[in-house]
Every structure is written in C-alpha cells, then in structure tokens.
C-alpha cells in the first residue's frame, strides 16, 4: 500500500509538469501583460520593470527560469502585489481556504449522508420528496444568490451573525453554509441513490433473513456499500472546496486564495496564477490518491500492490 502511494506520487510528477507547462504558455498567449494599465507607463519604466521580472527575455528562457526557481521551491514574486512573493500570498490565504473548505466538506458529508440515508429508507414518501426538493434547490441555486441572501437575512436583518469577515467562529457560519449547501445536495442525492441500490442487494436480504436488527443492517451492511460511490466524488470535490471559492470569499470578504485565481488571471499576474494552478493541481492529485487508498481500505476487493 505504501509502495503504491509512493509510486502514485512519483507518477504525478509528469502530470504536474505538463499542467505547469501548459498553464505557463497559455498565460503568455493571452494578450496584454502584468504592467498594462489604462495610462501606459513610460517606455523606460516598463523596460525597467520587464528587466527586473525577466520579462524582457524570450518566453522559453522565462519558462526555464521559472522551472529552475520552482525546483528550488520558489514561486517567484507577485507582479501586482509588489511587496509580496507568491509564497507569502498563498501562505496567508491557504489556511483560511482550507479551514473554510474543510468545515464545509465535513458539514456537507455529515448532513448529506444523513439526509440521503433517511430519504432512501423512506423511499417515495413525503420525507424522500422533501429531501429531493431541498437537494434540487441546493444544486440549482447558485452561491452568488445564496451568499448575499444569507448575509442579508442573518447578518443585516436579524443581526444574528456577522455579515462578513473571518475573525471569529460566528463569522465562519454563513460562508461555511453557503459553500456546503450544494455539496449537501449532491452528497444526499448520491447516498440516496446508492443506498436504495444497496438496500435491494442480495446481501442485505441475507442480513434480513438472518434476523439482524434494522439499525445494524442499515449502518453496517447498506451504508458502507453506499459510501463507495460518494468517496469517488469526494476526491475532486475536496480539492475544489479546499482551494477556495471566488464567490464566497468575495461576498463575505474572506482572505482566502480563491480570489487570487481570478484577480491574478485578469491582471496577468503570471506568477500568482501559476502558484494557484500548482496548488490546485497538487490538491487534485493528492485527493485522488487519498480516494483510491480509502477505496482499498473500505472495499477488500480493491487491492494495490
């Protein structure tokens, strides 16, 4: 298992390399540069800036230079937030994003599984239909609607919770709910579907025929089997959640890294964009590996060696 994990991580290096290369050249193909402004800078200033940031060199040379720095663990200076390196920006923002995403994921997993299980056990009853209705609502209403709405109702009208910021446990409630809501919906639907299938399976029939208590049948024999499809969904979902959400961070004014991705791209902040791309890619690779290892842990038929 450990050998497998190491091999998988080694195997991810070429993948990451390709992603980095592709992202690097794609950024350079986009028109404009980091120092283009409404009012064009003086030619001399621009030349100076370009020289300092090595933008006067041919692109392939810049690419090699970037790779060289990356190999030493240096993501380079941000072109826009001039006093900060990309490491500093991501280092400050990432903990916030991970905290927010992690909590949202946990909440979604807990509520989603419970709702999905209940709906499956009460299939085609009003309980089932309400869960499905809530789930559909959660998936279809975009978070840029949910976020301001929650902020308005609970933050402004009821003054129960802070409408924004990230400085107290209370301030985390609304962003976490906003981020978790669609995930709750997706997980509830997934669990419901696979749970219904599991409840109909032959081995659950065996458990019933052997007089096992219902609670044991549901939790031990049905839910574990029903979890498997959810786990494969969780890999990419966790990677997406933990690397921040532009909308939620912007609306609630959170200092995460999600906004850097958009701002960096709009401002042609080459190094910042590369930094976020690398972080997201690494998260995706790592979480997919975790999913595969979890699969092996939960399903004895899956073996890696």
């Amino acid at each position: 298992m450990l050998g497998y994990a190491v091999r998988r991580l080694l195997g991810a290096i070429p993948t990451l390399f390709l992603i980095i290369t592709f992202a690097f050249f794609l950024m350079r193909v986009a028109p404009g540069g980091p120092f283009d402004r409404e009012r064009t800078l003086e030619a001399k200033v621009l030349e100076n800036l370009n020289r300092v940031f090595h933008l006067d060199k041919p692109v392939w040379e810049q690419y090699l230079y970037y790779l060289g720095n990356l190999a030493r663990g240096d993501l380079g200076p941000s072109f826009i937030y001039r006093d900060f390196s990309v490491q500093q920006l991501l280092g400050n923002g990432l903990p916030v994003s991970i905290q927010l995403g992690g909590m949202a994921l946990l909440v979604a997993l807990l509520i989603g599984s419970v709702l999905g299980t209940i709906a499956a056990l009460r299939q085609n009853s009003w309980v089932d239909y309400s869960v499905i209705a809530v789930a559909t609502f959660g998936i279809t209403v975009p978070n840029f609607v949910v976020a301001p709405l929650l902020s308005l109702v609970f933050g402004v009208w009821l003054s129960l919770l802070p409408a924004g910021g990230w400085n107290s446990p209370e301030s985390m409630v609304l962003p976490v709910i906003t981020l978790a809501l669609p995930q709750v919906a997706i997980i509830a639907r997934l669990i419901r579907g696979s749970m219904i299938e599991a409840l109909r399976s032959d081995h659950v029939r065996t458990a019933r025929a052997y007089g096992l208590p219902q609670r044991m049948i549901v939790i031990v024999h049905a839910l574990r089997a029903a979890c498997l499809p959810v786990i494969s969904y969780l890999g990419p979902a966790a990677a997406a959640l933990l690397t921040g959400s532009v909308v939620v961070e912007t609306i609630f004014g959170l200092p995460g890294i999600g906004r850097y991705f958009v701002q960096g791209a709009l401002n042609r902040d080459y190094t910042l964009v590369m930094g976020t791309v690398i972080i997201i890619a690494v998260f995706v690779v790592v979480f997919n590996l975790i999913v595969d290892l979890l699969y092996a842990a939960l399903d004895p038929r899956v073996r890696y060696d």
Binding site: Y4, R7, R8, L10, G11, Q123, R200, S201, D202, H203, R205, T206, A207, R208, A209, Y210, G211, L212, P213, Q214, M216, V220, H221, R224, A225, L298, D299, P300, R301, Y304, D305
Partner: protein, 546 residues
Amino acid sequence: MMKQNEERIFDIRDIRVTFDTPDGAVEAVRGVDMHVNAGETVAVVGESGSGKSQIMMAAMGLLATNGSVSGSVTYRGQELIGLPRAKLNRIRGAKVTMIFQEPMTSLDPLYTIERQICEPIRVHGGLSASAARKRALELLKLVHIPDPERRLKSYPHELSGGQRQRVMIAMALANDPDLLIADEPTTALDVTIQAEILGLLAELQKKLGMAILFITHDLGIVEAFADRVYVMQKGLVVETGATEDIFQRPQKDYTKMLLAAEPEGHKPPVGNDQPVLLDARDMCVTFTIKGGFLSGPGYELKAVQNVGLTLRAGQTIGIVGESGSGKSTLGRALLQLLPSEGRVVYQGTPIQGFDRAAMRPYRRNLQMVFQDPYGSLSPRMTVGEIITEGLLVHEPGLSARERDRRAIQALEEVGLDPSMRNRFPHEFSGGQRQRIAIARAVILKPTVIVLDEPTSALDRSVQKQIITLLRRIQESHNLSFIFISHDLAVVKALSDYAIVMRSGTVVEEGPTSEVFDNPQSDYTKDLMEAAFNLREVLNRQAAARV
C-alpha cells in the same frame, strides 16, 4: 432419507403474494397451501415465474417493497405474517434460516467470513465475541471448509463458489435451526460442486435433524434429494405427493410435461466423407493480466491450451466443461473474436489471425448465438431491424422489400409469428428471444453456427423447444454447430461428437455416445455421474460417511 415424524413445524395456508407494478397488480402466488414436517425434506419445484421463491420471501418477511401478502404462515403455531419485525427477527436466522441461489452476492463483499457468520450468532445467541468466533470455526469445520482458521479471515471474493455456499450453510446452521429453506442453492454452481453441496446438506440433515425446504427447477435434484414434492405452476400448486409417486405416477399434465422436458434424443454421427468445414489445430488463448509501468509485472492466464477440432458439414460438436474450463473462450477464438495462437482453416482458407476487415466476408458463414437472450439483443431496435442488420452488411444490394421478405422467412423458420417483427425485444419471453437470436444467425444462411450456452438461461420445457428448433434448422440447411454448454443433458441430446474441457485443456473427446456412456477419464466419469446419476453419487457419499 430419514424417517420423519408427523409433527408439522411450518404451515402455509392460502398464501397470496401480489406485486404492485406500473402495469398494475401482478399476482405471483395465488392461494397456496404447503407444510413441512419436522426433519423431512420437501422440494418445491417449478419453472421461472411459478412463484415458488416468492412464497418463502413472503413467509420470511423478505418481499420487495412493492409486494404484499395475505394468508397465513405459522412456524410451530406462531403466525409469521404480520408479525412485528422485532419478533420475526427472533425466528428468522435462528429457527428458520435460508440459503440463496447466488452465494457471491448473498454474502456482503465488504466483510470477512468470520464477521458474517458471527453476526447472527451474536444477535440470536448473545454470545461474546470470542465464543462466537469459536462457534464460527466449529461451523466451518462442520461444512468441511479446508483450512477453516485461515478462511475465517477471508473475504467472500477470495472463496470459490462452492466454498461460498458452504459458508452460507454454516451461517444457516449457526443457531441450530428447525427448518432450512434452500432457494435454488446449487443453480449457480457446476454439477460436480452441486453434488458436493447436496451431499453436504444431506449429511448435515442426518447429523442435526432439521427439516429442509428445497426450492428448485431441477427435477434431477428433487428425485435424488426430496421426500415430498410440491409442483408449482403460475402461482398455484398443481400437484403434490411423495417424490416417488410424483416421478412414477404423475397425475397432472403439467407435471408430466415437466418430467418429459428433460432433453432427449441423440444425433447420429456424420460420415467421414462429409467435407471438413472448420479445422482448428493447436489453439491457444492467453490472457495477459496487464502490469503497468507503476503497478508491477503482469501475469499470463492460459485460458485455452493446445486444443484442436475438426468440424464436418452437418456435424454438431459439443464442447462441455465447468465454469472456467475455457470452452467459451475457445468458441470465440475459433471465430477470431479474440486473439489466439494456432491455426484455423475454414473451407481451405486459413483464417487464423485475420483482423475484422479480413474476417468480414467470412462472418456471414460463421455465425454465433450467445447465452443471454436479454443482453445480446439491442433493446432499442425492433426485432425486424435486429435480424436484418446483418443483411445490410453482407448483402448490401438487397431492397428493403427483399430484406423484409427474408425477415418473415427467418422468423417463420424459428417458429415466431412474422407479424411481431415490429416489436421490441423486451416484449418477448426468454425462449422467444433466443429464437430471435437464432433467426438473426440463420437469415444470413451461414454454414457454421457457434452456439454458446444458448439454452442455459431457459426453463427445461423451453429448452426442449429450442433443441427441437436447432435440430430442425440443422437438417433443413445442413448446418454445422459447435455447441458449447455446461449442461451435459443438452449436449448429449444435440451433438454427435463431444469434447470435454477442463482448465483450458481437453480431458476427453470422441463420439458423443462413447464419451457419455463409457467415459474414460476420472474427471469425465465424475462429471457424468454428477449430471445423470445424482442419486447414486449422494448414496455413495452417504455410505462413505457411515
């Protein structure tokens, strides 16, 4: 069989099972009375859809959510229908236990054997974990699982089919049941394994004295195994009585028909003067289980090793073998449907190694019919479209009208009403679908048809019709068949030459009459005996235990 006392332990009265389906209510069981006395072996026999399993599902509270039941089922005077789940749970799994058809799916793939056997022991007997484990080990020894300590730690997928069914039996025996309900417990197993499992059940019954209610479609098992029989048809019991009476003196037409449905007849061998159509030498098929650059080295599985055959015009070669013997793989390799080594010559042309394009002109002559009549017909095409599809490729010049004429002709030939050609496969029964699959092959006027278990998914009475049909079209078109099946009775009836395969190699071959009536190898002898003389095998097993 043991002498039973007349104490009724399980009594079913006027039971009715109805399923609420989108097409309206379907009555699966329509008022059945049945009982089981202490210690006796009762068989419920019937074809698919006769409701034989659903009675027991209803009795044990295992009906699907859309099913409902009325009537009465009592176990030692205790009414089970409508009993609250908590009370029912004290009986099922303890006093009345069940084993099922598919031991693979009936066990939870995610837990060890130990855990699954211990669960009912602990729930019903309130044993401690270590006591339950000890009991589980005892049970595995009781059902003769080799290396029981290690097997406790195994997962279901690590066991063979026969071992899995032994584990199910161990679970069933855990709480000293009064009644064991066995729902087609050997249907998914090979015949030699089936004989072992039946022998085990007989042995355990003798040792432990529980009653067995055996649900099956296989009359051979009933005859060898049961004291008393209920014959079911369309949700009703049509006849009941002692096994011997039913088999010797059946009263009802349906029972007579079932008894007569065992495949019969034989095929005279073809002369050596008949031209050779298909000649295969040294066929080998090796599956490489792929290793990858990161997942370690792969390994090779030799599915077929050095098998040859010569098929003459009008001949039927039967290939028999248990699951995993490589018989289907050989059939596919002969038609170049999967890569193989060796040499295959079709009417003088070596076709070995031909790719799809090179094989295309030969395909119309070399047709194939598959086992699963549900999976092998496209559900979104009408029957007419399905059977004429091959004509579009092989006779592209035909007009639509001409194709339609050929479709009518082919459907008539396989005994289907041609006016049904605009319907979809799901509107047909299993036997009718197999007829459609045969029509699809026959319409191309082939010379060789490879039939891969074409009757295995069908009831015996339907099987018999398909056998008759195959015989007829073979005669009228002078067709040659390669008939692949695990069902020895069918092969015996249809083929004039038989090849017995095991683990990818030929164990024995020769004219059907010789292989079946005078088998030489031990394996073939065991196979024949398990298939045709089950009672003898069980008696010998019983004698060996005394």
